[in-house]
């Protein structure tokens, strides 16, 4: 697959939303973006908080524009990981791109057969520290649902 289409986005969103409601049990917002971070489709499940829409979009945007899941981006801005060398950390990323940069776990990249990032899924709505149930797992289900589109 070359790029994320609306058809793929709808399939991923349906799978993520289903998993979030039936297994995780939290109302989430889920967003799918293309390789540039431009929105393709967004769903807010019934009962999900209003702010989760924008957070989901921006998690997906952060993932697509950094080619990294936001769980890994969060490590970059973790002050406990500050290195011994002066400036050996990513704390300067905070607030980048007019505040859109969102280093909060929940964004997962969509990759093609050559492991190049062609888009991302972002989810928001699951509280942190829930063990195996997290925003990341909600997004990951959406990525898994795209297996049909691989050659």
């Amino acid at each position: 697959m070359k790029q994320v289409t609306l058809e793929m986005a709808e399939k991923a969103l349906a799978a993520s939303a289903r998993w979030a409601s039936d297994i995780a049990g939290f109302a989430c917002s889920i967003a799918v973006v293309n390789e540039a971070g431009a929105v393709i489709a967004v769903h807010r499940m019934d009962g999900a908080a209003a702010l989760t829409v924008d957070i989901a979009i921006e998690k997906a945007w952060s993932t697509a524009s950094f080619n990294l899941s936001t769980a890994l981006l969060a490590r970059m801005v973790d002050y406990r990981k500050v290195g011994k060398q002066l400036g050996d950390h990513g704390l300067g990323l905070l607030g980048k791109s007019k505040g859109r940069f969102t280093p909060v776990a929940g964004g997962v990249p969509i990759t093609n057969e050559n492991a190049e990032v062609i888009g991302a899924i972002g989810a928001s709505g699951v509280p942190p520290d829930m063990g195996d149930i997290s925003d990341t797992s909600v997004s990951q289900i959406g990525v898994s649902a795209l297996y049909d589109f691989y050659d």
Binding site: L6, A9, A41, V42, H43, R44, D46, V53
Partner: protein, 141 residues
């Protein structure tokens, strides 16, 4: 009735069908009655800004409870609430045609915004979607 994801997806499906018939490529957004986004789809190949503009139109139609094109009436100094059209307090208000409130017997339950074609085409898609939704709810009742 309140706006649900199911209803929003139904509205978007109807709007997408209608848009494909006209051969246009566009973005469609549906908000609840508070203007908070419920679902947003950008068709393959639709210009990137159309996604945000569709969302803006849906927000404007839902919170002002009128077609987004009618926001320009607040430009009349004699009109009540004159000046709303330029306040832009959350960078979302727009007077571009193509946003309509979704109503039922209880009043406004949401908004729909379409962006991608000419103002007339966008408006036609909104109207067709709302008609189709109304027909469905009438049939149920």
């Amino acid at each position: 009735m309140v706006m649900t994801l199911e209803l929003a997806r139904k509205a978007i499906r109807i709007a997408l069908e209608h848009t494909r018939k006209t051969g246009n490529i566009c973005s469609i957004a549906v908000t609840d009655r508070n203007g908070v986004l419920v679902a947003l789809h950008r068709m393959d190949g639709a210009l990137i800004p159309t996604a945000d503009i569709a969302r803006d139109k849906a927000w404007t139609a839902a919170v002002f409870q009128c077609p987004s094109s009618e926001i320009s009436r607040y430009g009349d100094p004699a009109a009540p609430n004159s000046g709303f059209n330029t306040s832009n307090w959350n960078d979302r208000i727009t007077s571009i045609p193509g946003g309509l409130p979704i109503k039922d017997d209880s009043g406004v339950i949401g908004g729909i915004g379409v962006s991608g074609g000419t103002p007339e085409e966008d408006m036609a898609v909104c109207e067709a979607t709302i008609w189709a939704l109304q027909l469905e709810s009438d049939n149920k009742a």
